[in-house]
C-alpha cells in the first residue's frame, strides 16, 4: 500500500516537473526546474528499486547537467552584455 502510494506520488512529481521544465522558457530558470526533475527521477528510481540508477541520476541530473546549462547561459549572456 505504502509502496503503491510512493510510486504514484513520485510518478506524479516527475510528470509535473517535466511539464514545468518544458513550460519554463527562460533557460536559467529551466535549469532549476530540470534539477528538480533530476531529483524526482532519482527518487522514482529508488522506489522502483533501482538505487544504482538513482545514484547516477543524482550526479548527472541534479548536478552536472544543470551546471552545464547554467554555464552556457552565462556565456551567452556575457556576450550579449559586451555587445550591448
Amino acid at each position: 500500500m505504502a509502496d503503491t502510494a510512493l510510486v504514484t506520488l513520485t510518478l506524479l512529481f516527475v510528470a509535473a516537473a517535466a511539464g514545468a521544465a518544458v513550460l519554463t522558457r527562460d533557460p536559467a530558470r529551466q535549469a532549476v526546474v530540470l534539477s528538480l526533475l533530476g531529483l524526482g527521477l532519482a527518487l522514482l528510481f529508488t522506489v522502483l528499486q533501482a538505487p544504482d540508477v538513482g545514484l547516477s541520476q543524482l550526479g548527472v541530473g541534479a548536478a552536472v547537467t544543470p551546471l552545464m546549462i547554467l554555464l552556457t547561459v552565462r556565456k551567452v549572456r556575457r556576450r550579449r552584455k559586451r555587445d550591448g
Binding site: L11, V14, V22, Q30, L41, Q49, P51, V76, R79
Partner: protein, 118 residues
C-alpha cells in the same frame, strides 16, 4: 497497483516524451530546447525501469540481503545506467554547439537562424 493507476508509469513515460517534443518544437531558445531534449530522454528511463519493476521485490544487489529474496529486473537497470550517460554526453555536445551558434550568429533563437535553407 491495480485499476487505472496501473497504467500510470507507462503514461508518465509517454507524457515525458510528448512534452519534451512539444517544448523542442516550440522553443525560442536553443538552450531551452536542449533542456527539453533531456526531458524527452527521461521518458526512456521511466519506461525501462517500469518494465523491469516487480511488485514486492527489492533491488538485485545482494550485499545486505540474502540471495533468495525476489528482486526486480537488473537488466533494465543496466540499460538505464548506460542511457543516462548517453543523455548527459549528448546534452554536453549540444550545449557546446549552442555556445558556438551564439558566437557565429549572435543569437540562440532558432527563428533568427536563417543561413541554411532551400
Amino acid at each position: 497497483m491495480t485499476g487505472p493507476l496501473a497504467a500510470l508509469p507507462y503514461a508518465t513515460a509517454a507524457w515525458l516524451f510528448l512534452a519534451g517534443v512539444y517544448g523542442m518544437a516550440t522553443s525560442r531558445n536553443l538552450v531551452h530546447a536542449v533542456g527539453c531534449l533531456s526531458v524527452t530522454q527521461s521518458s526512456t528511463y521511466v519506461l525501462l525501469l517500469a518494465v523491469g519493476y516487480r511488485r514486492g521485490a527489492t533491488a538485485p544487489v545482494f550485499s545486505d540481503v540474502p540471495t533468495s529474496v525476489p528482486v526486480v529486473d537488473p537488466v533494465v537497470q543496466a540499460l538505464a545506467l548506460t542511457d543516462i550517460v548517453v543523455g548527459a554526453t549528448v546534452t554536453a555536445l549540444l550545449l557546446a554547439l549552442v555556445v558556438q551558434v551564439d558566437k557565429g550568429h549572435g543569437t540562440v533563437d532558432p527563428d533568427e537562424l536563417s543561413e541554411l535553407k532551400g
